[in-house]
Amino acid sequence: MTKEPLLLFPNVHKVMTADRICKKNNITTRVIPVPEEISSECGMCLVVAPAEMERCVVVLEEQGLGFKIHKRGEDA
């Protein structure tokens, strides 16, 4: 199980947009299903390498994308 923080978005369109933005900025993303402890719905979220997290947050905020960062083991 991944221990890295998860980037959670309000819907799958935002996930896809965020993934595109990351790709354009050479930030490697991993798509994983939203863990069941967070939501029982079939959703996807993004994981980025810790080293790229800060830059990722900046570019996503620049684009006005709303998201939450979820650290494993904490409540959503």
Partner: protein, 207 residues
């Protein structure tokens, strides 16, 4: 003369019942041979006879299994009464049921292509966390794109390979898409290997 029980052509639980009934007819410490022509029945017989306390010893000759057993002083009552419970027991020493995953394209499902591409990435990243892993993953046609270097699907596939899952990438397809240099995981495979793997699988999961 050695007692023999021939279970060829019989399906579970019949071979188990035949073996149990024959064991009842012989004396304590006497030996008997059970013959089976079916891998699954053989596995079930082994578990059943082991639990009965009959100390099964197996030998495979050509396509037949010969199991030598010894009548125990006292057969385990639970096993003796309930041979049915031993049907379809998964193979010992292999906690994975035998299934393979086939990726026919680089997307999951039909409909929106971008969504399909996202879903399949989620699928492989979820698959690698599962307790029951496939024995093989086969990728053909657009599916080979999942093995391209520096993608999260290739990373997930590499982790699956580390867990002893065979990852087969269709060579013709890699050639067609001219991406041989970009494949980062798996074994480039030919249609004979793919056809054989598909034929031997107990269950195929197409995604």
């Amino acid at each position: 003369m050695m007692h023999t029980v021939d279970t060829k052509g019989h399906l579970c639980p019949e071979p188990l019942i035949m073996a149990r009934n024959a064991l009842r007819e012989i004396r304590e410490g006497e030996k008997m041979t059970v013959i089976s022509d079916n891998e699954i029945s053989f596995q079930n017989l082994m578990s059943f006879l082991e639990d009965l306390g009959a100390k099964p010893l197996a030998e495979k000759k050509e396509d037949l299994y010969f199991i030598e057993v010894t009548k125990p002083a006292e057969a385990s009552e639970t096993a003796d009464k309930n041979p049915e419970a031993y049907c379809n027991i998964p193979q010992q020493g292999d906690s994975r049921t035998n299934y393979i995953v086939v990726a026919r394209s680089s997307r999951m499902g039909e409909g929106d292509e971008e969504l399909g591409a996202l879903l399949i990435r989620g699928y492989f990243n979820a698959l690698k966390e599962m307790d029951v892993l496939p024995t093989h993953i086969i990728m053909y046609n657009g599916g080979v794109k999942l093995a391209v270097k520096d993608t999260d699907t290739a990373a997930a596939l590499a982790e699956l390979e580390d867990k002893d899952v065979s990852v087969l990438v269709c060579g013709t397809c890699v050639d067609y898409y001219q991406m041989k240099d970009r494949i980062g995981v798996g074994r480039i495979s030919n249609m004979y290997q793919i056809a054989t793997t598909l034929a031997e699988a107990q269950k195929v999961v197409y995604i």
